[in-house]
Symmetry: C2
DNA sequence: ACCTCGCGTAGAACATCGTTCTACATTGAT
DNA sequence: ATCAATGTAGAACGATGTTCTACGCGAGGT
């Protein structure tokens, strides 16, 4: 039943966006009374946290999807898959990184999932360092640097603030600059 | 009087954050009735748009602040000042880039201000290209690439999602990677 | 000088949101 | 079969954005 509520929340989120994600709408979509949300998740934040857990799971899966043997290709694939996930699930991405990010007290499970997604990137950075295509150093710091850049590109693109004619080309250029600058 | 309302809105935004920025709170802070907001700005979005206009003005000023003759130093200064502005005015930054970015219909003046801030960066990129420290190409595309990366770093840092011990050092590393990769 | 008219204001009112409260049904145990 | 407990449904409460309804105050005409 919690699953049914989270499913309903995801449908409402995709259909009506983050603004339309209300307790009443989710409860109606799931065919229960609004109280069901509070019985199962405590409050609205708990429900959206459950949705975000799925979102971070999908993001981690996307980042770790391709496993090219070539370390540079593997890194580039992660970057492309990151953007692909965000463009395929823009409302999820906005909910994951949009509101206040920190003001909403993150669940322990949510933090775990987010950390898992980050760790997937760290592993790929370490893979690249071990094979010499990335300058040696702290893999977590380098992964954070890459995440910063990639998140900014995706975030601005979802917000319609990428003013270049081809956002995909600009994104590819960013990935290339990153691997060049980190070599 | 519009100015008084925008001043009040900025005080409320800084004091109570984006969530506390309500029509009633702003009206009370300005000492007028809530209707004053609707008479002057149409609705709440118009009021926050006026606040964001100021925000983008400050961002543009920060990006264009230092004018080192060395093109690389000028670019790095812009990047550092961008982050400094965001850390000094986190609520403004969150309001400018946080909510939906696109769903809130942007005012023409707001778009102008945002474009002015972006143009300040484009000018610096062109300066760097002309003096040979950046690979030649479309200055707007390169500026967008830089903006993407820098915005992501600042956005994640404000959200508390920079997991490295020293966010400032990670930011500096990102700037260095950008100038290296774009050389 | 007084009356009138019009515009902006103040405060109540409405719909919706998150959240809580109050009965009521349903289920499992004794 | 009775009873307790749990979860449900629906109303209800405070707050929000927005709108409606009188009210006041100043400008213009006689």
């Amino acid at each position: 039943m919690e699953q049914a509520l989270v499913d309903a929340a995801e449908r409402v989120l995709v259909r009506d966006g983050l603004g339309g994600l209300t307790v009443r709408a989710v409860a109606a979509e799931a065919g229960v009374a609004p109280m069901g949300v509070y019985n199962r998740f405590g409050n609205k934040d708990g429900l959206v946290a459950a949705v975000l857990v799925r979102g971070f799971g999908g993001l981690a899966a996307a980042v770790g999807e391709d496993t090219d043997v070539d370390p540079t290709a593997r890194l580039l694939a992660s970057g492309r898959n990151y953007r692909r996930f965000a463009l395929a699930h823009p409302q999820h991405y906005a909910a994951m990184f949009g509101p206040g990010l920190s003001q909403a007290a993150p669940t322990a499970e949510l933090a775990d999932r987010a950390d898992a997604a980050f760790t997937a990137l760290v592993d790929r950075v370490r893979y690249g360092m071990d094979r010499g295509v990335l300058r040696p150093g702290d893999p977590r710091g380098t992964a954070q640097l890459i995440w910063n850049a990639v998140h900014g590109a995706v975030s601005l693109e979802l917000g319609g603030l990428v003013l270049t004619p081809d956002a995909g080309a600009t994104y590819e250029a960013l990935l290339q600059v990153l691997v060049d600058g980190l070599r």
